[in-house]
Amino acid sequence: MLAQEFMRNALVAGSFVAIACGLVGWFVVLRAQVFAGDALSHVAFTGALAAAALGIDIRAGLFLATILGGVVMGALGDRARADDVVIGTLFAWTLGLGVLFLTIFTTNGSGSNGTAGVRVLFGSIFGLSTTDVRISVVLAVAAVAVLAVLGRPLLFASLDGAVAAAQGVPVRMIGLVFLGLVGLVAAQATQAVGALLLLGLLAAPAGAAHRLTGRPYLGLGLSALFAVGSVWLGLTLSYVFPTLPPSTMIISTAVGIYVTAMSLSPLRRLVG
């Protein structure tokens, strides 16, 4: 299995994407911002197709759109979280724009048909180039570095914003940087499992870790471990049974881990 270059690329890129998703996802679940992650997957779809319609690199559109989307949501702050109707309407419209770009792309584009849309929606982890792999490693390392610096004040601000602010933590700025980071990770995950399924990789391993332990740093580690495990097992299953798409298998594994963690909840007493 490792003799195939596409498989090696998928494993390396997938692992780094998973580490970033697991770590960032743990905070997303803690901050109850899973809805924001969902919104960013719409933005990812539209950003990528806008780039395709304009004839520029899909990755550029993807990253620009999600990071910007994250920062804008952060700037709207609590108001954004309060009004589900505004957010829902805004992101349905975003998705609508994505469809428009898809139409422009398929009618005026470089002769290719709708596969770009399918790739963005469901990922193309077996089609990653060496450059894609390098980019995902660099971005994952960057995400880990940002979290290593923000970690403790981010935890404080997420649990107890008012007290953290009184102790001098720049709560608002941290929230903004964090959603920018979620955007970056969402874009990365779009390439691996697609815009529609990235939420599973962001929320399921993290949710399982929250179920199993109340120790924050152990939880972060478990979350990353579960995400990487999902990618490895998912890719292997998809390789052995070629009719099964890799994104389906990765997400199914992640969901399986979450369900297992839920049923194992009494174990939490042992892990602490």
């Binding site: 610096v149 403790r152 953290a164 009184a166 109340g214």
Partner: protein
Amino acid sequence: MTAVSFEGAEARIGGTTIWRDVSLTVERGQFVAVLGPNGSGKSTLVRAVLGLQPLAAGSASVLGRPPGEANDRIGYLPQRRSFDESTRIRGADVVRLGLDGARWGLPLPGARSRAATRRVAEVIELVSATAYADKPIGELSGGEQQRLLIAQALARRPQLLLLDEPLDSLDLPNQAGVAALVRSICREEDVTVLLVAHDVNPILGYLDGVIYVAGGTAVEGAPEDVISAETLSALYGVPIDVLRASDGRLVVVGAPDLHGHHAH
């Protein structure tokens, strides 16, 4: 020594004056209650002490510094909802954030981390929360969460404790328990306590002073002067009785905001 002093202070939010001409002094080691009707500006007063609410006029001094500059010596418990059941972070880790949560980076193993663990255990013991400090905080009762949050506020050995309605949403035995805990911290750890209260009865026996916020200003006084039927009736604008119970304790009756029968 003076812990908190305000001189002709005024607070304004969005162009509206919340209170003005506020002059008061809280001495070190005192247990002082902040009373007043809903919306009178009690929390604004606490935020002004922290420097989170700038003064529109007048001056203030907190632990010998301008407000906001001594916050590392202040323990703060904001008015809050309780933690959601889905918050699965261990109680001890929430307490630990009060010690070093504002520091960048991640806690690394080492001497400093061991010292922090010891301090967290000590302060959890102080609030008698050792039995449940390892459980996820969302699974604990309101009284248990409140004890852990007081431990969090105490972690850095503050000289001043600001508690914004710590007894709200607790049942009667827990109100009495937390009130007694705050009193013993005040006495034994020599911490000045400023406690915003909805219901004055659980803390009535412990107070060194009362600050009452009403009618766009705030006045301080000794408990026996303020806790009288005349003063409280004028303060809240409704008839209030102050009765003496058979054990000699005072009981306040009649103010919708002063005891448990209020409607939000």
